[in-house]
Symmetry: D2
Subunit: 347 residues, 4 copies
Amino acid sequence: MDKLRIAVIGAGYWGPNLVRNFRNSPDWDLVAVCDLDPQRAARVVGDRSTVAVETDVSRLVHRDDVDAIAIATPARTHADLAIAALEAGKHVLVEKPLATNLEDARRMVQVASDMGRALMLDHTFCYTPAVRHIRQTIADGVIGDVLYVDSVRINLGLVQPDINVFWDLAPHDLSILDFILPSGLDVGPVTATGADPLGTGRACLGHASLPLPGGGIANITVNWLSPTKIRSFVVGGRKSTLVWDDLNPMQPVALHDRGVHMAKRPDDLAERTQLTVSYHMGDIHVPALPGGEALGLMVEEFAASIREGRPPLTDGESGLRVLTVLHAIDESLATGRAVALQQEVAR
Amino acid sequence: MDKLRIAVIGAGYWGPNLVRNFRNSPDWDLVAVCDLDPQRAARVVGDRSTVAVETDVSRLVHRDDVDAIAIATPARTHADLAIAALEAGKHVLVEKPLATNLEDARRMVQVASDMGRALMLDHTFCYTPAVRHIRQTIADGVIGDVLYVDSVRINLGLVQPDINVFWDLAPHDLSILDFILPSGLDVGPVTATGADPLGTGRACLGHASLPLPGGGIANITVNWLSPTKIRSFVVGGRKSTLVWDDLNPMQPVALHDRGVHMAKRPDDLAERTQLTVSYHMGDIHVPALPGGEALGLMVEEFAASIREGRPPLTDGESGLRVLTVLHAIDESLATGRAVALQQEVAR
Amino acid sequence: MDKLRIAVIGAGYWGPNLVRNFRNSPDWDLVAVCDLDPQRAARVVGDRSTVAVETDVSRLVHRDDVDAIAIATPARTHADLAIAALEAGKHVLVEKPLATNLEDARRMVQVASDMGRALMLDHTFCYTPAVRHIRQTIADGVIGDVLYVDSVRINLGLVQPDINVFWDLAPHDLSILDFILPSGLDVGPVTATGADPLGTGRACLGHASLPLPGGGIANITVNWLSPTKIRSFVVGGRKSTLVWDDLNPMQPVALHDRGVHMAKRPDDLAERTQLTVSYHMGDIHVPALPGGEALGLMVEEFAASIREGRPPLTDGESGLRVLTVLHAIDESLATGRAVALQQEVAR
Amino acid sequence: MDKLRIAVIGAGYWGPNLVRNFRNSPDWDLVAVCDLDPQRAARVVGDRSTVAVETDVSRLVHRDDVDAIAIATPARTHADLAIAALEAGKHVLVEKPLATNLEDARRMVQVASDMGRALMLDHTFCYTPAVRHIRQTIADGVIGDVLYVDSVRINLGLVQPDINVFWDLAPHDLSILDFILPSGLDVGPVTATGADPLGTGRACLGHASLPLPGGGIANITVNWLSPTKIRSFVVGGRKSTLVWDDLNPMQPVALHDRGVHMAKRPDDLAERTQLTVSYHMGDIHVPALPGGEALGLMVEEFAASIREGRPPLTDGESGLRVLTVLHAIDESLATGRAVALQQEVAR
């Protein structure tokens, strides 16, 4: 099977990771790396290599030895670059977030559809063995109805000049929720609180609550100001509770065979019926997850979706759903109220 | 030094713990245990003992061989029992929460003041070596300005017939905040979200955000529905970050010498000044905490406050402050808005 | 059912733990506490109690309101006290080690047998839910043939004036091995190494290797000089590996569904057959263990063995087997060679 | 500064790791990869690369565009390859173990010395930030006299056709000891025990005790049969205890400010003086270690030693010392006795 030919735009923070994974992949032939700064691109390409270094994006997107373009540039440039590449007939992979506003995002999705090309979001976490396992566990009914999700992502991070902490970190949590929950991001009115204790002009830490269709709730905690890293994700269900600790390499996922159910029992003292919640306290099960770097599995899925002519698992629509919730979060931060989503996000 | 003489009312869930600690204390002589069910009281007293078993509260509070009364009964009975004991000239220790409404609570505080007797709240966590250490660390300026607090208390617990999860679990978090923060519970408008995915008629899990005076925020997550226990408490400051994991017996408290500070640097590409947050990534320090069961230290403080004629560390006022925030949480849950505290809670 | 009547000799380090557990047990009525120092005994008995305080052992063992005696005194006094009590017709519980030499130990076992009374060793760890679970797991064939056991017990402890670190700590490991292994302490020649880096005159840390019947090996590491506590116990089998971390309250026991098996495969380069070990890498399973303090279960077993007229799970014979291995360890330390056991220890 | 030019022999298990690190290094220019199987070498080189693929070792070692050779082939081929490269004037890096017998090893060291070329052992662990920190902590006197070292390396691993588990795994522990201890591997008579419970014809798990000069002891536990991985390394000193857990990415090294000291106190009961060990129970300190992959730091040291004309930190002599102890371990396994080292290994 011939390799697909890829070019990467952006040799900054994330681009080199994409370059490394496209290079290691049996599906891909890395043809070119493009950056405004040719030295930076050359460093990423390395010595004794014949991979091309480009600085001109419009020349790059019209190279006829390139099948697909990966975009790892600042978010505000995503829309123009992606649309140029799609219109040149290339398949496109975009870093999250898809765009900086819903209009751009909808346009990108539309152009990809019109051109019949793949538009894929690099929602990296969806390709980790842990998240794939969680999705399957929920789909198999092992967890039962989802009562709550608690996602905590406390990460050292640069305070971004244009966006708040939710736009920087929450796309990870939101894309995971979109991926694993049967109802995806079809959530009720969103309540968000934030704080800016250093006076940077934007929320540097915050919390968002997303009501789930069945009465449950998903909570997201994000924080830029903690140099201490926490990445925990708990899915509580009627039948069992799943705990994912992304920083525990030995036991990343644990399924606690512990669930709750309601019972009615007479309460003699109060002369009425008392609702009680009973717990089932069973064992803990730590699955052996398959190996594999998430980025490697992501570029594999990009190739597979192109070859099979189907949308990738994390397609442009998923990026649009994430943006829709981010906008509701921003509005809740500004108004102090719960905010309904602007548009239908049902999958 | 003569021992002080104590009687305990309530031989249910918590009473036996109090009995054990009063018995083991060199400060206290346990005189009587009182419960509506004399068998239950007798079981707590045990064999070959001359400790009295009482069933009549009004007789108990008038025993003249008793200096103080500890109340471990349902919350709705606290006010009447405490006021009867105070009016009989006894010092009183009450389980949290102080009462079920602010009116009762204010009355209890007033009677204690009028009678010149100690009214102490059993805010047990404030007597753990960990919380005492955190309070001191903040007071010493080691943490710097508090930017955020994240308290997660996920506990298996019976769904209570009359109260929601905040009233059951959050008094712990609130009493700790009241104890360790220089500004105590003097917080801005409170935002709370909750969920009742089992249809019990009350929030079984929830989240509350409490704005702190300096622009920071304290977040509290409580949950009844998870049979998996988490008790983590993070205090992020400008100078360092403190992490308390109450379920890690080997390293309960860790001080991360990691702080953040703002800097301005020119952003050449954008032709403007960019605010950046710099991190100081130092070592982690795990203090050797003194031993001692929290309840043991609590009964010691009860005796000391009586002997020294001063208010206990966790006095009636602290119980009143906790109730005030609980009421704001309830109102925010009901209205979907941020709710200011009903009264001044500054210490 | 009438309670059995117990007296405890020794109000020093361990005695108060026994007193507490006999008091809390529905099986036992604590009649007396005996110590050379009456104040010390009185402190253990506590206020407002009618439990007798004794200082005269011979009077105690002849009290006719006592069915059984628990001995928590220094090891060199065990033989005389236990034999006096047995000859007075009492059942006896002894702290480990059974005695300080094999002759005494054999005599104690003999007298108990002659008198038809229970002689029980307080091998506390055998009554933990973890060890009981391990024993059952091995008995059920889940682990398969035991290939190795690694027990590490690194404990802060006083350097004892008369005994080395093996006599102080290894009785725990040895009694556990005796309890859980199908072949018990029926081991091959023992190799032990030790060190005395502080010049105390006896080994303060050491390592012993005990060959198991099927070709496997049990390793024991003990250490007095480390203020850092480690208590890990690994049982590696053909089918699975069990890891017990006694200091991890949340997940004390984990069964790794990971085993090894031999295979032969042709090695073309070397033109011969190569033996290979294949691994089965399955999930990890953390069982929900029943609650219960080990000492509480131990005093329950003491009562049950008396009532049912059968030897207790950890009887005098088990104490004798432990002593036999301790003697071989001492001889290996002295001679630098592997040393066979002095007598048959097969169960 | 011009880059040094490297060729790597061996494209099997370890070679690709070396290739990746030489490629990423600013010190090195990767010129060629050599393997008997040209496809395997080509795969390691990758697409769009001008790095040479070689299959003929003798042609490779005489290329005049190569300054140094890295050897990642089976141990039995190390001596011939290294000597050929050294005699061709190249600097040489060798995988551990240096050779399969002491004669070969001594010859390699001699030829390197005669030719004035660097002979470096890839004792990778010595270049981890953790081991460098441990070495410095001991050198700075923070730990005090080393009382014991406990190294546990339980690793899934193929049963090797020619060597036992000590030759496979213990070179890691031994090279670390050689690197961090002031007295290096200058140890007393070595006692080793092993087991072969699967009947493979060689020890698959074992334990070695190495007496240290000051009365302390170093214990090494190695195990091929456990699919469960443990890599813990404890250095106990008079002043403090250092714990390294190589599988804990968040807190790999912890320094426990806990030490022991001897005291004499009168023992009234025994009418003599009792030796007691006192413990100092202080805080735990987790240092922030610098980042950096060990292999990257290793290739950097290789370049620095060549440029500065000095022996590398882990030179041929260190490899010889490790082999000397491995031979003593083998002899102890065979004879059941403690075995003195064959030759002087003092640094």
